[in-house]
């Protein structure tokens, strides 16, 4: 046996390089083009390098209030994140015991991943319109004056939030399955043996041990919401999230401003991820300091 690499190695290495290029190429292209000079266009070559399009973006995109959309997405993403963490963690805990209908519930949840997003979105939109019609006809029939101004129950934090949760919760639940599959039950037995109540055992033993994975669920929830388009598209109501605005802009904006926006939103995703990683690093360092102090 020799250590020389075979031709297969080089073929596979080339294939992998192509894969990486395909994965990151678009992002890098957008990133570079967002620094296009003031006279530059939507494609290469670069016509100088500047922050021109970022400053344009800062002043707003004409009719579209991009910063309002930015704030909306940030807020919605945070709510989705918290709900995804809490609900999937609770569901994950429930699935550690057998309960009647657990299989059926699992299939229902996972079906939400399999049904095409646009269909889910259309369905939610339709459902809300039915509710709206029902409320309107009720108010007409009974002459409820307090419902006079009522238009729709659809909105960012009703149908929009629900639509995004149909996407993030199944992922959250699947991650929880993985977490609890690996979790050693003896930790809980030990806690119980030492007199902990079920709540104390969860708060002082289970949660701290799975904390890094829980941060992972949160990250997942936020980033899935942050760039979600298909499910939100028909269910968001009268205001748009950032990715929906972006989708609209691709047809109307004809300058590199849109790339600057792309760079910015990607940047936010990275900030969220690195903040989370930094948080874990900090926790680890604090432990290490305690250890040094003890040594």
């Amino acid at each position: 046996m020799s250590d020389r690499r075979t031709a297969g190695f080089y073929w596979l290495a080339a294939l992998f390089a192509l894969f990486v290029l395909f994965l990151y190429g678009p992002m890098i292209t957008i990133f570079v083009l967002s620094f296009q000079g003031p006279q530059g266009g939507l494609t290469f070559p670069m016509n100088g390098v500047s922050l021109h399009w970022f400053s344009h973006l800062w002043e707003g995109l004409g009719v579209v209030d991009i910063w309002a959309a930015f704030r909306r997405s940030l807020k919605l993403g945070s709510i989705v994140m918290v709900l995804t963490v809490v609900l999937s963690l609770l569901a994950g805990l429930a699935y550690r015991k057998r309960f009647p209908g657990s299989n059926l519930l699992f299939y229902v949840v996972v079906a939400s991943l399999i049904v095409p997003s646009i269909v889910v979105s259309l369905g939610i939109g339709l459902e809300f319109r039915l509710v709206d019609d029902a409320i309107k006809s009720l108010s007409d029939t009974f002459g409820w004056s307090f419902l006079d101004g009522y238009t729709t129950a659809m909105g960012l934090y009703t149908s929009g939030l629900g639509a995004q949760l149909t996407w993030t919760l199944p992922f959250g639940l699947l991650i929880c399955f993985a977490i609890f599959n690996r979790f050693d039950r003896r930790y809980e037995e030990a806690a119980r043996d030492l007199g902990a109540t079920p709540w104390q055992s969860f708060a002082h033993v289970v949660l701290p041990i799975i904390a890094p994975s829980v941060v992972g669920i949160g990250l997942f929830g936020f980033t899935l919401s942050w760039d979600e388009v298909a499910r939100s598209s028909q269910a968001i109501g009268d205001v748009n999230t950032l990715p929906l605005e972006l989708t609209g802009l691709t047809t109307t904006v004809t300058n590199p401003e849109i790339y600057a926006l792309g760079t910015l939103t990607t940047g936010v995703s990275f900030i969220v991820i690195f903040t989370a990683l930094g948080l874990m690093q900090m926790l680890r360092r604090r432990t290490a300091r305690a250890l040094r102090a003890a040594a």
Binding site: D184, E189, P208
Partner: protein, 327 residues
């Protein structure tokens, strides 16, 4: 700490149609080192978990001291359990692990810390109080786990294969410490193991289990010298189980005599293997209509009559070395 006796009465645990523990009766006096011994799947760990309260009994009773604890939660039984591979909380330091039971009872921080340090002192682990479990060796983890269990002032300490995670050298050292600690504390230890060496070295009371039942219980000497059944004789080792016209008998391997073919003997056997084991030699023989026989000879005996594999010999033992077994 004060010790309590333990009594199991017709204790049964069934999982569906599988019976893990089959109506066992057992009395363990206070201040006893008791080993539950047996092959895997014999019900010894289930029994321990039943006593601890981590499994619910299907039938029967568990009585500790004057109290029937069968329905009580683990922390109210006066037991503490040391888990196999210890189950130390990975995110807590040694001191916090040991102080955990005080923390959940609402003992103030300074007070529980002081108690934890005392308890770590008992197992010589104070210098490692601020280490996380991952930064401790197996032996050190075992001591922290011991301190964590003992801080609850148990009347009975339950140990689930406490030595199996240690290397063989450490195992012998730690088992001596366990024995010393049990005598110092004056409480009963209930120790699950599959190693008969461990049980014989440690136990005041050996409880040998098989198929969910107690095969034999007694002092190590009783169990080794007077095995009740062929299973006990074989599991404890050092015995030959021989089928005779009047039922099975056990003959200790060091009492078997080997002679040249033609000389008087009760059986004939062909030498299959000879192993040098330092203090003695172990000769394995195949005998018609019997399972393999083992004879232990000291070096001088062996050198006087050297044996070769393939040689056929007369196998003999004296009348007083015969121990009758229950069929």
């Amino acid at each position: 700490m004060s010790g309590s006796s333990l009594e199991l009465a017709a204790l049964t645990k069934a999982y569906g149609s599988t019976v893990a523990v089959d109506a066992i009766d057992l009395k363990v006096p206070a201040n006893t080192y008791c080993c539950l011994l047996g092959p895997s799947g014999c019900g010894k760990t289930s029994t321990l978990r039943l006593v601890a309260g981590h499994e619910t009994a299907t039938a029967g009773d568990i009585i500790i001291g004057p109290t029937n604890v069968t329905e009580l939660p683990p922390a109210q039984r006066g037991t503490a359990m040391m888990f196999q591979s210890y189950a130390l909380f990975p995110h807590l330091t040694s001191a916090d692990n040991v102080a955990f039971s005080l923390k959940v009872r609402g003992v103030p921080k300074a007070e529980r810390r002081a108690s934890a340090m005392d308890m770590l002192g008992l197992v010589h682990m104070e210098p490692y109080a601020e280490r996380l479990p991952a930064q401790l060796s197996g032996g050190q983890q075992q001591r922290v786990a011991l301190a964590r269990a003992l801080i609850t002032r148990p009347q009975i300490l339950l140990l689930d294969e406490p030595l199996s995670a240690l290397d063989p050298f450490l195992r012998i050292k730690v088992r001596a410490e366990l024995k010393r600690l049990q005598k110092e504390l004056g409480i009963s230890f209930l120790h699950v193991t599959h190693s008969q060496d461990e049980a014989m070295a440690l136990a005041d009371l050996v409880v040998l289990m098989n198929g969910g039942r107690i095969e034999q219980a007694g002092t190590p000497r009783e169990v080794f010298n007077a095995p009740r059944t062929a299973f006990v004789a074989q599991f404890m080792g050092g015995h030959n189980v021989i089928a005779t016209g009047s039922g099975p008998i056990a003959v200790r391997a060091d009492r078997v005599k080997l002679r040249r073919a033609g000389e008087p003997g009760r059986l004939s056997g062909t030498v299959r293997g000879i192993e040098y084991q330092g203090t003695h030699l172990q000769v394995t023989l195949a005998s018609p209509d019997q399972s393999d026989l083992t004879a232990l000879m000291n070096e001088a005996e062996f050198d006087a009559v050297p044996l070769k594999p393939g040689e056929t010999l007369a196998v003999d033992w004296s009348e007083q070395d015969i121990h009758r077994l229950n069929a």
